[in-house]
């Protein structure tokens, strides 16, 4: 059951009706039941692992609450500053120990499920016999998302940045909340708890806005992303040495847009569904292709994953005892350059983990390292960039902004070749094709239409991409398109609404051997 299936729409409608008809105190139970039904029956997900994560998260939270209360009680009885400091350190040590055990256990499960598949052939090769039960291990749906979400709760609870939850079912709802369980965004407990516990009153405009966002997300997914995907799959699935470099460039640009339309489409659908229940999910995309640097790009793309790594890996490492020791030693030795060493190590760690979180292959690891190196270099070279800019008399303005945007696209483009290629060998051939057989004329020949999209499909793509660009530019100006439309005359408004729905129904990619059900980020 995916968001685009009839079964899901029926589940959503039932949950929506019950949510506003039943007493307000029961609202979160409706969400819990809908989430469990969606996960267990709809997605045929493996609930035992989710349950195990839920139980360990709940127990760890309770331990942290007891520890923090104990610490406060003891501190009241404590007299001098030194003994208070020692007491705090002792309690903190115990908290950290339990948190580490919890994180190792849950990350261990994630790593086990994620890497069991690729471990099978290695084990079989090494032992010469079959890998037994490992062959049947299936990765539980959404594990990459709910594991990190659960870890954020446990760390925040230990840092006293969120209240510890004493109700087990609320933890389960937090982890399995159906709009975000499979692909995020990564919710934070403090924000979600407040919304789950609030009493929600039905509002027509909110329901309408939610449905509009859902339809817009489906449009991006089914009309844009899936159509781009046909061409991308066609080109990358062909014999690499026979494809012109210009066609690979076109396919990779399409892939950049496909990935964005697919994932942001899913997020729009999830946020739209959630909005109808008066629950706001955190922003996950802010038009990343308008970014003027790679750092800005990653502040606008999959925002909640970026902040997760920043808060729980980067800052945790830099502010840790080890991080501080490295900073101190490097600062003493190299002064200004030295102070950047710890952030650089933190950045490399973040990007290495981001790479392996996204995929199981060496390509993803290299993709992560590539971004880590670029971020680190930009940190080191930033002062020099300023000097060069001045020397070359470059002035800020539209042209310079566009150059910076184009530079960002190029960096993302090169990285995306790596993760879209089936193997490192193919990636090598694709990069090679840009140099050895660019053949620009290929773009204007019949070769372009031999990868699954005919010329009418290209025209349609051009039109829908223009619509998407117009919406993005409006949002970039700080306007909410839904509010903007709601203030237009009724005819304009409904022409736009019907236009998008009709385009979705007529030109959306349905069935026919091409599975619309699978969202790209679901496999991460």
């Amino acid at each position: 059951m995916q968001f685009t299936s009839y079964a899901f729409i029926i589940l959503w409608m039932f949950a929506f009706a019950l949510y506003y008809l039943l007493p307000k105190k029961m609202q979160w139970y409706v969400l819990l039941i809908a989430s469990v039904l969606f996960y267990v029956i709809g997605l045929k997900g493996f609930p035992l692992n989710l349950l195990l994560t839920g139980i360990t998260t709940y127990c760890c939270g309770l331990y942290l609450k007891r520890n923090l209360t104990g610490e406060k009680d003891e501190l009241i009885r404590c007299g001098d500053k030194e003994s208070k400091k020692a007491l705090k350190a002792a309690f903190q040590k115990k908290r950290k120990r339990v948190q580490i055990i919890y994180i190792v256990f849950n990350l261990g499960l994630l790593v086990f499920y994620k890497y069991a598949v690729i471990a099978v052939p290695v084990i079989e090769r090494m032992t010469g016999s079959r890998a037994g039960f490992l062959e049947n291990v299936m990765m539980p749906l959404g594990i990459s998302f709910y594991t990190l979400t659960a870890i954020s709760y446990v760390i925040d609870a230990g840092r006293e940045n969120c209240e510890v939850e004493t109700g087990f079912l609320k933890i389960i709802l937090f982890l399995s909340y159906f709009p975000s369980v499979t692909q995020g965004p990564f919710n934070r407990f403090a924000q979600m708890k407040e919304q789950f516990e609030k009493e929600h009153v039905f509002r027509y405009d909110r329901m309408l806005f939610g449905i509009q966002r859902f339809v817009w997300g489906a449009f991006k997914k089914m009309v844009i992303a899936d159509r781009l995907g046909i061409f991308v799959d066609g080109v990358y699935g062909a014999e690499s040495s026979a494809v012109a470099g210009s066609i690979f460039i076109c396919a990779t640009v399409f892939y950049m847009l496909q990935l964005y339309a697919d994932f942001s489409g899913y997020i729009d659908m999830a946020a739209g569904i959630s909005e109808t229940f008066d629950i706001v999910l955190p922003d996950n995309f802010k038009r990343p292709y308008f970014s003027k640097s790679v750092a800005e790009f990653w502040r606008r793309w999959h925002i909640t994953l970026g902040t997760w790594f920043k808060d729980y890996v980067m800052f945790s490492f830099v502010m840790s005892g080890m991080g501080r020791k490295i900073t101190k030693a490097c600062k003493n030795k190299w002064n200004d350059i030295g102070r950047q060493i710890t952030p650089i190590i933190g950045t490399m760690l973040v990007w290495f983990f981001t790479g392996i979180w996204h995929g199981r292959t060496v390509s993803y690891m290299l993709w992560g390292v590539y971004y880590g190196v670029i971020m680190s270099l930009s940190l080191i070279l930033e002062p020099s960039f300023g000097v060069w800019k001045e020397k070359l008399h470059i002035r800020d303005g539209k042209v310079w902004s566009f150059v910076r945007m184009a530079r960002t696209w190029l960096i993302v483009f090169l990285a995306d070749v790596l993760i879209r290629s089936e193997s490192l060998a193919q990636a090598g051939k694709v990069y090679g094709s840009f140099v050895t057989r660019l053949n620009i004329r290929g773009l204007f020949s019949s070769e372009l239409t031999s990868y699954g999209l005919n010329k009418y499909e290209f025209v349609l793509l051009f039109v829908v991409l223009l619509i998407w660009l117009a919406v993005s530019l409006t949002e970039e100006r700080g306007e909410d398109v839904r509010i903007y439309l709601s203030q237009r005359p009724v005819i304009v408004r409904w022409v736009c609404y019907y236009g998008i729905v009709v385009l979705l129904l007529i030109t959306g990619i349905y069935g026919g051997g091409y599975d619309t059900a699978v969202f790209m980020y679901q496999s991460f």
Binding site: N161, A295, K310, D311, V318, M319, K331, R339, P343
Partner: protein
């Protein structure tokens, strides 16, 4: 104390001094590298240790929030 913090902010991120929005971190005025450098200088200047739990958007939403955080840590 305030003057010292403003000096540190000026050195690492001048824009932060004139910022009047809701969140410097979310609006991209101050990135994670700058946050780390500002923290490092504040720690050296005031001989305090800023734990990772304080490095949240709320405590770095504007210059006043940073000053309030340092004041709180100095009082502890």
């Amino acid at each position: 104390m305030e003057e010292k913090i403003l000096e540190i902010l000026e050195e690492h991120c001048e824009e932060a001094l004139d910022y009047n929005g809701e969140s410097m971190m979310e609006d991209g005025i101050i990135d994670s590298f700058t946050v780390i450098n500002v923290i490092s200088d504040i720690e050296d200047e005031f001989d305090i240790e800023i734990d990772a739990k304080y490095v949240v958007a709320e405590n770095f939403k504007n210059k006043e929030a940073i000053i309030a955080l340092v004041r709180k840590l100095l009082e502890e």
